[in-house]
Protein backbone atom coordinates (compact mmCIF):
# COMPACT_ATOMS: atom_id res chain seq x y z
CA UNK A 1 0.00 0.00 0.00
CA UNK A 2 3.00 2.21 -0.37
CA UNK A 3 4.23 4.30 -3.17
CA UNK A 4 7.91 4.88 -3.25
CA UNK A 5 8.24 8.48 -4.19
CA UNK A 6 10.94 8.99 -6.66
CA UNK A 7 13.50 11.68 -6.30
CA UNK A 8 14.24 14.64 -8.48
CA UNK A 9 15.00 14.06 -12.08
CA UNK A 10 15.97 16.36 -14.89
CA UNK A 11 19.43 17.04 -13.63
CA UNK A 12 19.07 16.32 -9.96
CA UNK A 13 18.64 18.43 -6.90
CA UNK A 14 20.89 21.27 -7.93
CA UNK A 15 18.98 21.82 -11.15
CA UNK A 16 15.72 21.83 -9.25
CA UNK A 17 17.07 24.35 -6.77
CA UNK A 18 18.15 26.56 -9.66
CA UNK A 19 14.62 26.47 -10.94
CA UNK A 20 13.37 27.35 -7.47
CA UNK A 21 15.75 30.32 -7.37
CA UNK A 22 14.58 31.65 -10.71
CA UNK A 23 10.92 31.10 -9.94
CA UNK A 24 10.97 32.62 -6.51
CA UNK A 25 12.35 35.85 -7.85
CA UNK A 26 9.03 36.25 -9.67
CA UNK A 27 6.88 34.96 -6.84
CA UNK A 28 6.52 31.37 -8.08
CA UNK A 29 7.56 28.00 -6.69
CA UNK A 30 7.88 24.62 -8.43
CA UNK A 31 5.17 22.27 -7.18
CA UNK A 32 7.69 19.44 -7.08
CA UNK A 33 9.33 20.65 -3.86
CA UNK A 34 6.36 19.30 -1.91
CA UNK A 35 6.93 15.64 -2.70
CA UNK A 36 10.42 14.70 -3.68
CA UNK A 37 12.71 12.21 -1.99
CA UNK A 38 15.93 14.05 -2.83
CA UNK A 39 14.59 17.36 -1.59
CA UNK A 40 13.50 15.69 1.61
CA UNK A 41 16.85 14.05 2.23
CA UNK A 42 18.55 17.38 1.72
CA UNK A 43 16.10 18.99 4.13
CA UNK A 44 16.95 16.51 6.86
CA UNK A 45 20.65 17.21 6.41
CA UNK A 46 20.74 20.89 5.62
CA UNK A 47 17.60 22.38 7.11
CA UNK A 48 16.90 20.30 10.20
CA UNK A 49 20.58 19.50 10.67
CA UNK A 50 21.57 23.18 10.82
CA UNK A 51 18.61 25.22 12.06
CA UNK A 52 17.52 25.94 15.59
CA UNK A 53 14.64 23.52 16.09
CA UNK A 54 12.00 23.76 18.81
CA UNK A 55 12.00 21.00 21.38
CA UNK A 56 9.80 21.82 24.34
CA UNK A 57 8.46 24.51 26.60
CA UNK A 58 10.36 24.95 29.83
CA UNK A 59 7.23 24.34 31.87
CA UNK A 60 7.10 20.79 30.56
CA UNK A 61 10.30 20.01 32.44
CA UNK A 62 10.32 22.42 35.38
CA UNK A 63 12.21 20.25 37.87
CA UNK A 64 15.65 18.68 37.93
CA UNK A 65 15.42 15.21 36.40
CA UNK A 66 12.38 16.03 34.29
CA UNK A 67 12.62 14.89 30.70
CA UNK A 68 10.56 14.60 27.54
CA UNK A 69 11.28 12.65 24.36
CA UNK A 70 11.33 14.87 21.27
CA UNK A 71 12.62 14.95 17.72
CA UNK A 72 14.91 17.08 15.61
CA UNK A 73 13.92 16.24 12.07
CA UNK A 74 13.31 12.52 12.35
CA UNK A 75 15.93 11.92 15.04
CA UNK A 76 14.99 11.17 18.65
CA UNK A 77 16.37 13.31 21.48
CA UNK A 78 15.82 13.24 25.21
CA UNK A 79 15.27 16.79 26.45
CA UNK A 80 16.42 16.55 30.02
CA UNK A 81 16.76 19.04 32.80
CA UNK A 82 19.79 17.78 34.67
CA UNK A 83 20.17 17.75 38.38
CA UNK A 84 22.25 20.90 37.82
CA UNK A 85 19.12 22.59 36.45
CA UNK A 86 20.49 22.85 32.93
CA UNK A 87 18.55 21.64 29.91
CA UNK A 88 20.32 19.35 27.46
CA UNK A 89 19.22 17.33 24.44
CA UNK A 90 20.69 13.81 24.32
CA UNK A 91 20.57 11.61 21.24
CA UNK A 92 18.45 8.69 22.43
CA UNK A 93 21.00 6.03 21.61
CA UNK A 94 23.34 4.20 23.90
CA UNK A 95 27.03 4.78 23.20
CA UNK A 96 27.62 1.05 23.59
CA UNK A 97 25.44 -0.52 20.90
CA UNK A 98 22.95 2.16 20.01
CA UNK A 99 19.92 1.00 21.98
CA UNK A 100 17.31 3.63 22.86
CA UNK A 101 18.11 4.39 26.48
CA UNK A 102 14.87 6.23 27.22
CA UNK A 103 11.63 4.37 26.60
CA UNK A 104 9.15 6.88 28.02
CA UNK A 105 7.87 10.02 26.41
CA UNK A 106 7.88 11.97 29.63
CA UNK A 107 9.18 11.39 33.14
CA UNK A 108 11.60 12.28 35.86
CA UNK A 109 14.76 10.38 36.50
CA UNK A 110 18.23 10.76 37.85
CA UNK A 111 19.53 8.45 35.22
CA UNK A 112 18.88 6.49 32.04
CA UNK A 113 19.77 2.84 32.21
CA UNK A 114 20.13 1.08 28.88
CA UNK A 115 18.02 -2.08 28.75
CA UNK A 116 20.49 -4.03 26.59
CA UNK A 117 23.61 -4.30 28.78
CA UNK A 118 22.84 -1.88 31.55
CA UNK A 119 25.18 1.01 30.84
CA UNK A 120 23.81 3.89 32.88
CA UNK A 121 23.95 7.61 32.17
CA UNK A 122 23.06 10.34 34.64
CA UNK A 123 20.73 13.13 33.64
CA UNK A 124 23.72 15.27 32.64
CA UNK A 125 24.46 12.65 29.98
CA UNK A 126 27.55 11.23 31.64
CA UNK A 127 28.20 7.53 31.64
CA UNK A 128 28.18 6.57 35.30
CA UNK A 129 27.66 2.84 35.41
CA UNK A 130 29.07 -0.01 33.34
CA UNK A 131 28.34 -3.56 34.50
CA UNK A 132 31.45 -5.69 35.10
CA UNK A 133 33.57 -2.72 34.19
CA UNK A 134 36.68 -3.76 36.08
CA UNK A 135 37.05 -6.90 34.06
CA UNK A 136 35.37 -5.87 30.86
CA UNK A 137 36.88 -2.43 30.34
CA UNK A 138 39.74 -1.93 32.81
CA UNK A 139 41.14 1.01 30.83
CA UNK A 140 37.89 2.70 29.92
CA UNK A 141 37.61 6.42 30.60
CA UNK A 142 33.90 6.92 31.28
CA UNK A 143 34.20 10.54 30.22
CA UNK A 144 34.75 9.40 26.64
CA UNK A 145 31.36 7.75 26.53
CA UNK A 146 28.80 10.35 27.47
CA UNK A 147 25.58 10.36 25.50
CA UNK A 148 25.83 12.27 22.24
CA UNK A 149 24.08 15.58 22.61
CA UNK A 150 22.91 18.46 20.50
CA UNK A 151 25.87 20.85 20.43
CA UNK A 152 23.64 23.81 21.14
CA UNK A 153 20.58 24.09 23.37
CA UNK A 154 19.11 27.39 24.49
CA UNK A 155 15.82 28.92 25.54
CA UNK A 156 13.88 31.94 24.42
CA UNK A 157 11.45 33.16 27.08
CA UNK A 158 10.54 29.60 27.96
CA UNK A 159 10.80 28.07 24.50
CA UNK A 160 13.54 25.43 24.34
CA UNK A 161 15.40 25.09 21.04
CA UNK A 162 18.38 23.04 19.96
CA UNK A 163 20.72 23.20 17.02
CA UNK A 164 22.80 20.34 15.66
CA UNK A 165 25.29 22.64 13.94
CA UNK A 166 28.10 23.63 16.29
CA UNK A 167 28.92 26.57 14.02
CA UNK A 168 25.42 28.03 14.15
CA UNK A 169 24.67 31.56 15.32
CA UNK A 170 23.27 31.90 18.84
CA UNK A 171 19.53 31.38 19.30
CA UNK A 172 18.82 35.05 20.00
CA UNK A 173 20.51 36.03 16.76
CA UNK A 174 18.66 33.25 14.92
CA UNK A 175 15.30 34.52 16.15
CA UNK A 176 16.51 38.03 15.46
CA UNK A 177 13.88 40.58 14.58
CA UNK A 178 11.12 38.03 15.08
CA UNK A 179 11.80 38.39 18.80
CA UNK A 180 10.07 41.76 18.75
CA UNK A 181 6.83 40.03 17.75
CA UNK A 182 7.25 36.90 19.84
CA UNK A 183 7.84 39.00 22.92
CA UNK A 184 4.47 40.70 22.69
CA UNK A 185 2.96 37.25 23.08
CA UNK A 186 5.37 35.73 25.53
CA UNK A 187 6.00 38.64 27.88
CA UNK A 188 2.75 40.60 28.09
CA UNK A 189 1.46 38.51 30.94
CA UNK A 190 3.52 39.07 34.07
CA UNK A 191 3.38 35.40 35.07
CA UNK A 192 4.52 34.14 31.69
CA UNK A 193 2.99 31.20 29.88
CA UNK A 194 2.75 27.54 30.74
CA UNK A 195 1.84 24.42 28.86
CA UNK A 196 -1.35 22.46 29.51
CA UNK A 197 -0.58 18.76 29.73
CA UNK A 198 1.24 17.09 26.88
CA UNK A 199 1.35 17.90 23.19
CA UNK A 200 -1.27 16.38 20.94
CA UNK A 201 0.13 14.57 17.91
CA UNK A 202 -1.45 13.57 14.66
CA UNK A 203 -0.41 12.31 11.31
CA UNK A 204 -0.97 14.12 8.01
CA UNK A 205 -0.01 12.63 4.65
CA UNK A 206 1.40 15.92 3.48
CA UNK A 207 4.72 17.68 3.12
CA UNK A 208 5.82 19.47 6.28
CA UNK A 209 6.35 22.81 4.54
CA UNK A 210 2.67 23.21 3.74
CA UNK A 211 1.76 23.58 7.39
CA UNK A 212 4.66 25.93 8.05
CA UNK A 213 3.64 28.00 5.04
CA UNK A 214 0.01 28.29 6.02
CA UNK A 215 1.00 29.47 9.50
CA UNK A 216 3.37 32.05 8.01
CA UNK A 217 0.11 33.72 7.22
CA UNK A 218 -2.04 32.33 4.44
CA UNK A 219 -4.69 34.92 5.26
CA UNK A 220 -6.24 34.50 1.86
CA UNK A 221 -7.63 31.03 2.55
CA UNK A 222 -9.69 31.86 5.61
CA UNK A 223 -12.85 33.10 3.98
CA UNK A 224 -13.14 30.26 1.50
CA UNK A 225 -11.61 27.14 2.97
CA UNK A 226 -13.02 27.81 6.43
CA UNK A 227 -16.32 29.28 5.32
CA UNK A 228 -18.25 26.58 7.18
CA UNK A 229 -16.79 27.70 10.50
CA UNK A 230 -17.79 31.29 9.96
CA UNK A 231 -21.22 30.25 8.78
CA UNK A 232 -21.88 28.39 11.96
CA UNK A 233 -20.85 31.49 13.87
CA UNK A 234 -17.97 30.16 15.86
CA UNK A 235 -15.54 32.99 15.18
CA UNK A 236 -17.42 36.26 15.52
CA UNK A 237 -14.26 38.32 15.83
CA UNK A 238 -13.32 37.72 12.20
CA UNK A 239 -15.59 40.33 10.78
CA UNK A 240 -14.65 42.78 8.14
CA UNK A 241 -13.41 41.74 4.74
CA UNK A 242 -9.66 41.78 4.29
CA UNK A 243 -9.99 44.52 1.67
CA UNK A 244 -11.50 46.99 4.11
CA UNK A 245 -8.94 46.63 6.88
CA UNK A 246 -5.77 47.97 5.27
CA UNK A 247 -3.25 48.90 7.90
CA UNK A 248 -5.17 47.25 10.71
CA UNK A 249 -4.18 43.83 9.44
CA UNK A 250 -0.48 43.52 8.83
CA UNK A 251 1.75 40.95 7.19
CA UNK A 252 5.25 40.92 8.65
CA UNK A 253 7.67 39.31 6.22
CA UNK A 254 11.44 38.96 5.93
CA UNK A 255 11.72 39.16 9.68
CA UNK A 256 15.14 37.49 10.00
CA UNK A 257 13.77 34.74 7.81
CA UNK A 258 10.60 34.35 9.84
CA UNK A 259 7.12 35.75 9.28
CA UNK A 260 3.93 36.59 11.11
CA UNK A 261 0.47 38.02 10.55
CA UNK A 262 -1.36 40.27 12.98
CA UNK A 263 -4.98 41.29 12.96
CA UNK A 264 -5.43 44.40 15.03
CA UNK A 265 -8.30 46.36 16.45
CA UNK A 266 -8.42 50.14 16.31
CA UNK A 267 -5.84 52.41 17.95
CA UNK A 268 -7.30 52.51 21.43
CA UNK A 269 -8.75 49.03 21.63
CA UNK A 270 -8.01 46.75 24.58
CA UNK A 271 -8.30 43.30 23.05
CA UNK A 272 -5.28 41.24 24.08
CA UNK A 273 -6.10 38.48 21.58
CA UNK A 274 -9.73 38.47 22.65
CA UNK A 275 -9.06 37.59 26.25
CA UNK A 276 -11.95 37.62 28.68
CA UNK A 277 -12.06 40.78 30.78
CA UNK A 278 -10.55 39.21 33.84
CA UNK A 279 -7.51 38.12 31.91
CA UNK A 280 -7.23 41.40 30.01
CA UNK A 281 -6.84 43.18 33.31
CA UNK A 282 -3.76 41.16 34.08
CA UNK A 283 -1.61 42.09 31.08
CA UNK A 284 1.28 44.47 31.88
CA UNK A 285 3.86 46.29 29.79
CA UNK A 286 6.72 44.92 31.85
CA UNK A 287 9.78 44.55 29.64
CA UNK A 288 7.89 45.43 26.49
CA UNK A 289 8.36 48.71 24.65
CA UNK A 290 5.40 51.03 24.28
CA UNK A 291 4.93 49.94 20.72
CA UNK A 292 5.03 46.29 21.64
CA UNK A 293 2.55 46.62 24.45
CA UNK A 294 0.28 48.70 22.28
CA UNK A 295 0.42 45.93 19.70
CA UNK A 296 -0.47 43.33 22.32
CA UNK A 297 -3.33 45.48 23.49
CA UNK A 298 -4.77 45.86 20.00
CA UNK A 299 -4.16 42.26 18.82
CA UNK A 300 -7.19 40.20 17.83
CA UNK A 301 -5.24 37.39 16.27
CA UNK A 302 -1.68 36.51 15.48
CA UNK A 303 -0.14 33.61 13.64
CA UNK A 304 3.44 33.00 12.58
CA UNK A 305 6.27 30.61 11.78
CA UNK A 306 9.83 30.59 13.03
CA UNK A 307 11.88 28.78 10.42
CA UNK A 308 11.77 25.92 9.81
CA UNK A 309 8.94 24.18 11.59
CA UNK A 310 7.87 26.13 14.67
CA UNK A 311 4.50 27.81 14.27
CA UNK A 312 2.22 29.57 16.71
CA UNK A 313 -1.18 31.17 16.93
CA UNK A 314 -2.64 33.50 19.53
CA UNK A 315 -6.34 34.23 19.65
CA UNK A 316 -9.63 33.47 21.37
CA UNK A 317 -12.45 31.31 20.16
CA UNK A 318 -15.60 29.73 21.46
CA UNK A 319 -16.23 26.01 21.24
CA UNK A 320 -19.97 26.24 20.94
CA UNK A 321 -22.16 28.74 19.17
CA UNK A 322 -22.55 31.76 21.40
CA UNK A 323 -20.66 30.00 24.18
CA UNK A 324 -17.84 31.21 26.37
CA UNK A 325 -14.57 32.01 24.62
CA UNK A 326 -11.17 30.81 25.71
CA UNK A 327 -7.92 32.63 25.00
CA UNK A 328 -4.89 30.61 24.05
CA UNK A 329 -1.43 30.67 22.58
CA UNK A 330 -0.79 27.46 20.73
CA UNK A 331 2.49 26.11 19.46
CA UNK A 332 2.32 23.95 16.39
CA UNK A 333 5.29 21.98 15.22
CA UNK A 334 5.53 20.31 11.82
CA UNK A 335 7.62 17.20 12.43
CA UNK A 336 8.84 15.79 9.12
CA UNK A 337 8.27 12.07 8.60
CA UNK A 338 9.07 11.68 4.92
CA UNK A 339 8.58 13.63 1.68
CA UNK A 340 4.83 13.22 1.97
CA UNK A 341 4.16 12.86 5.66
CA UNK A 342 4.22 15.12 8.67
CA UNK A 343 3.27 14.79 12.29
CA UNK A 344 1.54 17.84 13.69
CA UNK A 345 2.37 18.45 17.36
CA UNK A 346 0.25 20.92 19.24
CA UNK A 347 0.81 22.53 22.64
CA UNK A 348 -1.75 24.79 24.30
CA UNK A 349 -0.21 27.54 26.43
CA UNK A 350 -1.96 29.89 28.81
CA UNK A 351 -0.81 32.47 31.32
CA UNK A 352 0.73 30.71 34.25
CA UNK A 353 -1.38 30.61 37.34
CA UNK A 354 -4.71 30.70 35.56
CA UNK A 355 -7.36 28.70 37.36
CA UNK A 356 -7.78 25.07 36.34
CA UNK A 357 -11.19 25.92 35.01
CA UNK A 358 -9.90 28.76 32.90
CA UNK A 359 -7.12 26.56 31.57
CA UNK A 360 -9.62 23.93 30.64
CA UNK A 361 -11.73 26.46 28.78
CA UNK A 362 -8.65 27.67 26.94
CA UNK A 363 -7.66 24.14 25.98
CA UNK A 364 -11.15 23.31 24.82
CA UNK A 365 -11.30 26.50 22.81
CA UNK A 366 -8.00 25.72 21.11
CA UNK A 367 -8.89 22.08 20.60
CA UNK A 368 -12.28 22.75 19.09
CA UNK A 369 -10.82 24.97 16.40
CA UNK A 370 -7.24 24.01 15.72
CA UNK A 371 -6.74 20.59 17.33
CA UNK A 372 -6.91 17.30 15.45
CA UNK A 373 -10.68 17.33 15.68
CA UNK A 374 -10.86 21.08 15.28
CA UNK A 375 -13.34 22.85 13.08
CA UNK A 376 -10.57 24.60 11.18
CA UNK A 377 -7.95 21.92 11.15
CA UNK A 378 -9.67 19.19 9.18
CA UNK A 379 -10.06 21.42 6.16
CA UNK A 380 -6.42 22.46 6.01
CA UNK A 381 -4.98 19.01 6.30
CA UNK A 382 -7.14 17.51 3.57
CA UNK A 383 -6.08 20.28 1.21
CA UNK A 384 -2.39 19.80 2.05
CA UNK A 385 -2.65 16.09 1.42
CA UNK A 386 -4.10 16.70 -2.03
CA UNK A 387 -1.34 19.15 -2.93
CA UNK A 388 1.29 16.68 -1.78
CA UNK A 389 -0.14 13.95 -3.96
CA UNK A 390 -0.11 15.99 -7.15
CA UNK A 391 3.33 17.37 -6.27
CA UNK A 392 4.71 13.88 -6.80
CA UNK A 393 3.34 13.60 -10.31
CA UNK A 394 5.47 13.05 -13.37
CA UNK A 395 3.41 15.60 -15.29
CA UNK A 396 4.14 18.34 -12.74
CA UNK A 397 7.85 17.63 -13.10
CA UNK A 398 7.70 17.44 -16.85
CA UNK A 399 5.96 20.78 -17.37
CA UNK A 400 7.79 22.34 -14.42
CA UNK A 401 4.47 23.28 -12.84
CA UNK A 402 4.83 26.37 -10.67
CA UNK A 403 2.63 27.63 -7.90
CA UNK A 404 1.58 31.24 -7.45
CA UNK A 405 3.04 33.14 -4.47
CA UNK A 406 3.02 36.53 -6.17
CA UNK A 407 0.14 38.24 -4.41
CA UNK A 408 1.21 41.72 -3.45
CA UNK A 409 3.82 42.08 -6.19
CA UNK A 410 1.41 43.76 -8.57
CA UNK A 411 1.54 47.54 -8.65
CA UNK A 412 -1.04 49.09 -6.46
CA UNK A 413 -1.63 46.11 -4.23
CA UNK A 414 0.20 45.55 -0.92
CA UNK A 415 2.09 48.56 0.44
CA UNK A 416 5.03 48.44 2.79
CA UNK A 417 4.20 50.35 5.99
CA UNK A 418 7.35 52.35 6.45
CA UNK A 419 6.07 53.82 9.70
CA UNK A 420 5.20 50.55 11.40
CA UNK A 421 6.96 50.33 14.72
CA UNK A 422 8.08 46.73 14.49
CA UNK A 423 10.87 45.23 12.40
CA UNK A 424 10.70 43.24 9.18
CA UNK A 425 9.06 44.20 5.92
CA UNK A 426 5.53 45.02 7.02
CA UNK A 427 2.66 45.11 4.55
CA UNK A 428 -0.57 46.94 5.18
CA UNK A 429 -2.83 44.13 4.09
CA UNK A 430 -3.56 40.50 4.47
CA UNK A 431 -3.83 40.28 0.70
CA UNK A 432 -0.19 39.51 -0.04
CA UNK A 433 2.11 36.48 -0.12
CA UNK A 434 5.34 38.02 1.14
CA UNK A 435 5.04 36.13 4.40
CA UNK A 436 5.07 32.85 2.54
CA UNK A 437 7.81 33.89 0.14
CA UNK A 438 9.86 34.61 3.26
CA UNK A 439 9.68 30.94 4.20
CA UNK A 440 10.79 29.72 0.80
CA UNK A 441 13.58 32.28 0.44
CA UNK A 442 15.00 31.15 3.75
CA UNK A 443 14.45 27.52 2.86
CA UNK A 444 16.23 27.97 -0.46
CA UNK A 445 19.14 29.65 1.26
CA UNK A 446 19.57 26.80 3.73
CA UNK A 447 19.05 23.91 1.36
CA UNK A 448 21.47 25.44 -1.14
CA UNK A 449 24.28 25.63 1.36
CA UNK A 450 26.52 22.65 0.63
CA UNK A 451 28.09 21.16 3.69
CA UNK A 452 30.68 18.86 2.36
CA UNK A 453 28.12 16.08 2.33
CA UNK A 454 27.06 14.98 -1.09
CA UNK A 455 23.33 14.50 -0.95
Amino acid sequence: MTTVHPGTRTGGLDALLSRVRESLADGFLPLQVFNDADVYDAELERVFGRSWVFLAHETEIPNPGDYVLRRIGEDPFIVSRGNDGQIRAFFNSCRHRGTQVCRYEKGNSNSFRCPFHGWTYNNLGNLTGVPSRAQAYPQMDLADWSLHQAPKVDTYHGLVFACLDPEAVPLSEYIGDMGWYLDTNLLAHPDGLEVIGEPLRWNIEANWKLGAETFCGDSYHLQHLHRSVFEVGLVPQFRGKAETRRGLDVHVSECSGHATVIIRGPEEARIFWGSPDELKAQYRQGELSDAQFSLARRSIFQVGTVFPNFSFMHTSTAFSVGGVAGSYFIIRQWQPKGPNRVEAWNWTLVPRGLSEEAKQIAHRAALSQVGPSGNFEAEDSVVWEGITRVAGSAFARRIGAKLHYAMGLDDGSAQVMEDFEGPGTVYDTRLEDGVQRTLYRRWLQEISRGDGTAV
Binding site: R103, I196, S228, V232, S373, E377, V382
Partner: protein
Protein backbone atom coordinates in the same frame (compact mmCIF):
# COMPACT_ATOMS: atom_id res chain seq x y z
CA UNK B 1 -25.56 -30.06 27.91
CA UNK B 2 -28.56 -28.90 29.85
CA UNK B 3 -29.98 -25.50 29.56
CA UNK B 4 -28.54 -23.61 32.50
CA UNK B 5 -25.14 -22.52 33.62
CA UNK B 6 -24.60 -23.35 37.25
CA UNK B 7 -22.25 -21.24 39.25
CA UNK B 8 -21.84 -18.62 36.57
CA UNK B 9 -22.84 -15.34 38.06
CA UNK B 10 -25.19 -12.88 36.49
CA UNK B 11 -26.61 -15.18 33.89
CA UNK B 12 -30.15 -14.11 34.52
CA UNK B 13 -32.34 -13.31 31.58
CA UNK B 14 -33.07 -9.78 32.71
CA UNK B 15 -29.45 -8.82 32.64
CA UNK B 16 -29.14 -10.15 29.14
CA UNK B 17 -32.21 -8.22 28.10
CA UNK B 18 -30.43 -5.09 29.20
CA UNK B 19 -27.35 -6.20 27.40
CA UNK B 20 -29.35 -6.66 24.23
CA UNK B 21 -30.90 -3.21 24.48
CA UNK B 22 -27.52 -1.63 25.02
CA UNK B 23 -25.89 -3.60 22.24
CA UNK B 24 -28.65 -2.47 19.90
CA UNK B 25 -28.06 1.08 21.02
CA UNK B 26 -24.43 0.84 20.02
CA UNK B 27 -25.33 -0.65 16.66
CA UNK B 28 -27.75 2.20 16.10
CA UNK B 29 -25.18 4.77 17.11
CA UNK B 30 -22.51 3.31 14.84
CA UNK B 31 -24.93 3.15 11.95
CA UNK B 32 -25.94 6.78 12.26
CA UNK B 33 -22.30 7.86 12.33
CA UNK B 34 -21.27 5.59 9.45
CA UNK B 35 -24.23 6.76 7.41
CA UNK B 36 -23.26 10.36 8.14
CA UNK B 37 -26.56 11.11 9.87
CA UNK B 38 -24.84 13.35 12.37
CA UNK B 39 -27.88 15.31 13.50
CA UNK B 40 -29.71 12.09 14.28
CA UNK B 41 -26.67 10.87 16.13
CA UNK B 42 -26.57 14.07 18.14
CA UNK B 43 -29.99 13.08 19.42
CA UNK B 44 -28.40 10.08 21.12
CA UNK B 45 -26.28 12.30 23.34
CA UNK B 46 -27.67 13.46 26.64
CA UNK B 47 -27.91 17.22 26.92
CA UNK B 48 -25.31 17.10 29.69
CA UNK B 49 -23.01 14.69 27.95
CA UNK B 50 -19.30 14.77 28.67
CA UNK B 51 -17.45 13.40 25.67
CA UNK B 52 -13.79 12.88 26.48
CA UNK B 53 -10.94 11.50 24.43
CA UNK B 54 -7.80 11.87 26.54
CA UNK B 55 -4.39 12.46 25.06
CA UNK B 56 -2.06 9.47 25.48
CA UNK B 57 1.60 9.82 26.39
CA UNK B 58 3.86 7.01 27.55
CA UNK B 59 5.01 7.76 31.06
CA UNK B 60 6.60 5.60 33.73
CA UNK B 61 3.43 5.50 35.79
CA UNK B 62 0.93 4.00 33.45
CA UNK B 63 -2.10 5.48 35.14
CA UNK B 64 -0.96 8.89 34.04
CA UNK B 65 -0.75 8.03 30.37
CA UNK B 66 -4.18 9.35 29.62
CA UNK B 67 -4.52 13.09 30.07
CA UNK B 68 -8.01 14.52 29.94
CA UNK B 69 -6.68 18.02 30.66
CA UNK B 70 -4.84 18.03 27.34
CA UNK B 71 -7.37 15.74 25.69
CA UNK B 72 -7.78 15.12 21.99
CA UNK B 73 -11.49 15.82 22.36
CA UNK B 74 -13.09 17.44 25.38
CA UNK B 75 -16.64 18.11 24.40
CA UNK B 76 -20.07 18.80 25.76
CA UNK B 77 -23.36 18.73 23.93
CA UNK B 78 -23.04 22.23 22.57
CA UNK B 79 -19.51 21.86 21.30
CA UNK B 80 -20.41 18.59 19.61
CA UNK B 81 -23.45 20.32 18.19
CA UNK B 82 -21.25 23.06 16.77
CA UNK B 83 -19.11 20.50 14.99
CA UNK B 84 -22.16 18.75 13.64
CA UNK B 85 -23.61 22.08 12.52
CA UNK B 86 -20.43 22.81 10.62
CA UNK B 87 -20.58 19.49 8.79
CA UNK B 88 -24.17 20.17 7.93
CA UNK B 89 -23.31 23.41 6.15
CA UNK B 90 -22.65 22.88 2.48
CA UNK B 91 -19.13 24.20 2.86
CA UNK B 92 -17.23 21.61 4.89
CA UNK B 93 -15.16 20.65 1.87
CA UNK B 94 -13.06 18.05 3.64
CA UNK B 95 -16.13 15.89 4.12
CA UNK B 96 -17.56 16.50 0.66
CA UNK B 97 -17.58 13.76 -0.49
CA UNK B 98 -17.74 12.30 3.01
CA UNK B 99 -15.09 9.92 4.33
CA UNK B 100 -15.94 6.27 4.27
CA UNK B 101 -16.09 5.05 7.84
CA UNK B 102 -17.15 1.77 9.37
CA UNK B 103 -17.31 1.19 13.11
CA UNK B 104 -16.87 -2.36 14.33
CA UNK B 105 -18.24 -2.39 17.86
CA UNK B 106 -17.37 -5.44 19.92
CA UNK B 107 -16.86 -6.61 23.51
CA UNK B 108 -19.94 -4.86 24.89
CA UNK B 109 -19.75 -5.27 28.68
CA UNK B 110 -22.21 -3.87 31.16
CA UNK B 111 -21.61 -2.96 34.74
CA UNK B 112 -17.84 -3.33 34.76
CA UNK B 113 -17.44 0.17 36.09
CA UNK B 114 -19.42 1.65 38.96
CA UNK B 115 -21.61 4.63 38.19
CA UNK B 116 -19.68 7.61 39.52
CA UNK B 117 -21.12 11.12 39.79
CA UNK B 118 -24.90 11.35 39.92
CA UNK B 119 -26.59 10.49 36.67
CA UNK B 120 -29.95 12.02 35.74
CA UNK B 121 -32.08 8.93 36.36
CA UNK B 122 -31.47 5.25 35.72
CA UNK B 123 -28.03 4.57 34.33
CA UNK B 124 -25.85 1.76 33.06
CA UNK B 125 -22.13 1.71 32.66
CA UNK B 126 -20.86 -0.01 29.55
CA UNK B 127 -17.53 -0.79 28.00
CA UNK B 128 -17.04 -1.40 24.32
CA UNK B 129 -14.17 -1.86 21.93
CA UNK B 130 -14.41 -0.02 18.66
CA UNK B 131 -12.33 -0.39 15.54
CA UNK B 132 -12.93 2.33 12.97
CA UNK B 133 -12.03 1.81 9.34
CA UNK B 134 -11.54 5.28 7.86
CA UNK B 135 -10.76 6.17 4.25
CA UNK B 136 -11.06 9.11 1.96
CA UNK B 137 -11.31 8.93 -1.81
CA UNK B 138 -7.65 8.76 -2.69
CA UNK B 139 -6.12 8.52 0.75
CA UNK B 140 -4.53 5.53 2.45
CA UNK B 141 -7.15 3.97 4.70
CA UNK B 142 -6.47 4.07 8.44
CA UNK B 143 -7.62 2.04 11.42
CA UNK B 144 -8.44 3.69 14.71
CA UNK B 145 -8.56 1.34 17.67
CA UNK B 146 -10.09 2.33 20.99
CA UNK B 147 -11.84 1.19 24.11
CA UNK B 148 -14.84 3.17 25.34
CA UNK B 149 -16.25 3.56 28.83
CA UNK B 150 -19.72 5.02 28.82
CA UNK B 151 -22.46 5.86 31.22
CA UNK B 152 -25.78 5.49 29.43
CA UNK B 153 -28.98 6.88 30.83
CA UNK B 154 -32.63 6.29 30.11
CA UNK B 155 -33.83 9.12 27.92
CA UNK B 156 -37.51 8.21 28.06
CA UNK B 157 -37.66 7.05 24.45
CA UNK B 158 -34.38 5.28 24.38
CA UNK B 159 -30.88 5.38 25.81
CA UNK B 160 -28.63 8.42 25.82
CA UNK B 161 -24.89 8.78 26.20
CA UNK B 162 -24.28 10.77 29.36
CA UNK B 163 -20.56 10.07 29.79
CA UNK B 164 -18.10 8.83 27.24
CA UNK B 165 -14.44 8.23 27.84
CA UNK B 166 -12.48 6.95 24.86
CA UNK B 167 -9.09 5.34 25.45
CA UNK B 168 -7.21 5.45 22.19
CA UNK B 169 -4.65 2.81 21.29
CA UNK B 170 -2.60 5.55 19.68
CA UNK B 171 -0.23 8.11 21.09
CA UNK B 172 -0.11 9.77 17.70
CA UNK B 173 -3.37 9.79 15.78
CA UNK B 174 -3.09 7.89 12.52
CA UNK B 175 -5.45 10.26 10.72
CA UNK B 176 -5.29 13.98 10.34
CA UNK B 177 -8.64 14.55 11.92
CA UNK B 178 -10.94 13.09 14.48
CA UNK B 179 -13.62 14.97 12.68
CA UNK B 180 -15.35 11.67 12.94
CA UNK B 181 -16.68 10.75 16.35
CA UNK B 182 -15.67 7.57 18.11
Amino acid sequence: MDSQLHGIEAADAARYGEHAAIRDFYSLEARLLDDNLLTDWLGLLHENVAYLVPNRTFKPLVEDDFSVASGVMVDDHDSVAAKVARYETLHAWSEDPPSMTRRFVTNVEIGVDPVSETPPGRAWTARTNVLVYHARRDQQPALISAGRRDVLVDGGNGLRVWRRLVHLDHNTLPVQDLAIFL
